[in-house]
Point group: C2
Chain length 480, copies 2
Amino acid sequence: MSNEDQLIPRSKDFNEWYNTLVLKADLADYGPVRGTMIVKPYGWTLWENIQQALDKRFKATGIENAAFPMFIPMSFLEKEAHHIEGFAPELAVVTHGGGKELNEPVAVRPTSETIIGHAYSKWIQSHRDLPVLINLWNSVVRWELHTKLFLRTLEFYWQEGHTAHATEAEAWERTKLMLEVYTDFAVNDAAIPVIPGEKTESEKFAGAQRTLTIEAMMGDGKALQSGTSHYLGQNFAKAFDIKYLDVDNIHQFCHTTSWGLSTRFIGAIIMTHGDDKGLILPPRLAPIQTVIIPISKTEDEKQPVMDAVDAVQKQLSEAGIRVKVDKRDNVTAGFKFNDWELRGVPSRIEIGPRDVKNNSVAIARRDVPGKEGKVIASREGLAERIKSLLGEVQQSLLNKATKFRDENTQQVKNYDEFKSAVEKGFASVWWAGSDADEARIKEETKATIRCIPFNQPDGKGTCFYTGKPADKIAIFARSY
Amino acid sequence: MSNEDQLIPRSKDFNEWYNTLVLKADLADYGPVRGTMIVKPYGWTLWENIQQALDKRFKATGIENAAFPMFIPMSFLEKEAHHIEGFAPELAVVTHGGGKELNEPVAVRPTSETIIGHAYSKWIQSHRDLPVLINLWNSVVRWELHTKLFLRTLEFYWQEGHTAHATEAEAWERTKLMLEVYTDFAVNDAAIPVIPGEKTESEKFAGAQRTLTIEAMMGDGKALQSGTSHYLGQNFAKAFDIKYLDVDNIHQFCHTTSWGLSTRFIGAIIMTHGDDKGLILPPRLAPIQTVIIPISKTEDEKQPVMDAVDAVQKQLSEAGIRVKVDKRDNVTAGFKFNDWELRGVPSRIEIGPRDVKNNSVAIARRDVPGKEGKVIASREGLAERIKSLLGEVQQSLLNKATKFRDENTQQVKNYDEFKSAVEKGFASVWWAGSDADEARIKEETKATIRCIPFNQPDGKGTCFYTGKPADKIAIFARSY
């Protein structure tokens, strides 16, 4: 039972609220090896819904799925200098297999660019073999000691896309296209108003020429990098000899991309929409979209209520709504309300004896607490009514998150304003600083450039930090 | 290009045919670490179709998916004596993480009973928490040096289901139910007439009390174990302390099951249905159900043909048929025919200038070679026609495989007949031998008991080997 003790309210301690909520809502648990995570059925169903939402978008752009081995020879990782520099400190290394010490230890993949590069160099011969458009749904390992479920674990689940192209222009288009896919998914399915943009030199992926990102504001004002798309140039093509014969029969190196979104995104959903009472899941991704609670006091009332509940369940699930009936007989209705609110189910249907008589139900929406969010509705046309309610909840979550983000994003003119801005949210600034300036600001304020947003204002300004003329706005924030 | 040299005919060398076909059909490739496998998009799409076919059946029985870490403390594996004995020789061991030697090395999961047992012991407290019905889609590692793609690789993909129950009866029902699910899937989606039955003591899973299996006959007469379901009794419950309070408030150990089906099943599909020309994929699982080949000789013919091709593609895909158009302009139509036959696409549509004039197409079915399998059909009602053809192909593959299995299964009365029977297929025998008899037969003939089939004849017989009275038929065969 998850409600034996109270959830720590979000308003009281955001960090502890998150940690206890993930466990109490049955999303995930800690694995026995330090840093690992078990994703429980409720959390994994949420991830399956995310997977489906992304996968259909990927496939619509021509992507196919494949699977690559988790074991990568250590020598592969060393072939691209920036890549090994970035990943070496986090590797898990298998030294023994089948009872013997291995001649060459193998790493458990931290990401698959290198093993993909090796395969593509074999598979790609001619311009006719291009583009190669492959995605992998898998898990990767980065040895982390400070775990936070979904946000930072030793093993995590994600998709990693890897494409190879004949030209720089085509590879760059693909890099941008996949960030658009992520943005569309985040805004329209997860109701998270992400800011798409480009990473600066110091924040880009180890081995990339350019990294694009979507950045989200969490309920505590910190940023969460929620998906990235990398233009790798010819770095990996040269390291792994990925070449093709062009139409003139001349060997050319390919241009490659990679892009990923992980179970971290579940953290983004929790921290964007959740409230003091628990999760609020966006209806399009919620494992359960509506929960039905039967309410009866006497034995006589029980059967007619259960008949009505079963009929409503059938009506709704035939209409494609993900519905669950809570038939537990060892807890009160009030307990059930709290329990499903904690789990973030976007709508609730209550059916009691009076409803049976009136052919009605009571409907409550998760995002509007108390009486204000409750209506009595007829069972006639209930499926349409619930669908329309789910659409409203979806939209209202996006509106609320957008408002919160905008209210907590400040246009700042100087370093003092900046320091106070990043205490509570994002700082939007004219920026013409150097890598060294960025590093100094990070050290002094813990805030980093989350991205240079694609959406830039007209005109120019003055860099808040250096006072130099600036032609770009940057978003600074503290981040997860 | 996959057809540069000819496929070795199946009739000439079954083993080499298999090995070259898997590569040529673009199903899979070897990974860089010895024993590992890359599943290419065509092979992975086949696996995705298998996953969907199984997953919906699992969910219909109340199963939910989850994810468990790949890393298992070595000490966990040692808790169940038979289990560690079975798996110790095949473990991959991580000794270093994050640049440091680990205090306790961790194994990469060979299967997850132990880490599941640990979690269930935490999650299960009361009879109200039961049953727990969880499935994992993941990969597992067993250190193998002799690779055969899909059949035996160091890392392979599968699903592993793990359930916990209050009573032995319920756990045993679940064990049987999941084997029924596998049987239904194999027969009706993969057109493989598997034999469901029970393993003998010597062939059961390391740690199980009883193991159920589906066994299939490959095109060379050998058996392939295609899916197994284990009743684990209280072995793992006692090793991991999985207990619940029953209605009388008394602690009881749970009864658990596990069951799995892997990418090995792709090997079964290849070796059951394939022929000299390549794969033949059962329509229900085929990544591409029909391929359209445009045929034009002159430039003038090209555009009208392509218009017709595009219209037919639209017509078929709107009807839910998985269709592909082969637009390559650097290979001949004849090359394309061979290429898609090799890849096992169950039906082919050809559209040439005459078809454009007559509003017709030519349809060829993969399982009936030459003119006999070819018809001219109107474009009116083509989607229904193709759907019905796919149904026919599906049924005819099952019929053919059933006939082949039955023709190559001999009822044998003595050891001489037995020896010749297992040279070419299955031996069906009355059996009352001991474990030692079974071991001796294996040594002398390489044949093992694949299963004691559920479907038993009436009456009793005489054991072909010991001459003792026997009340059970056993199926012996050489196996993969």
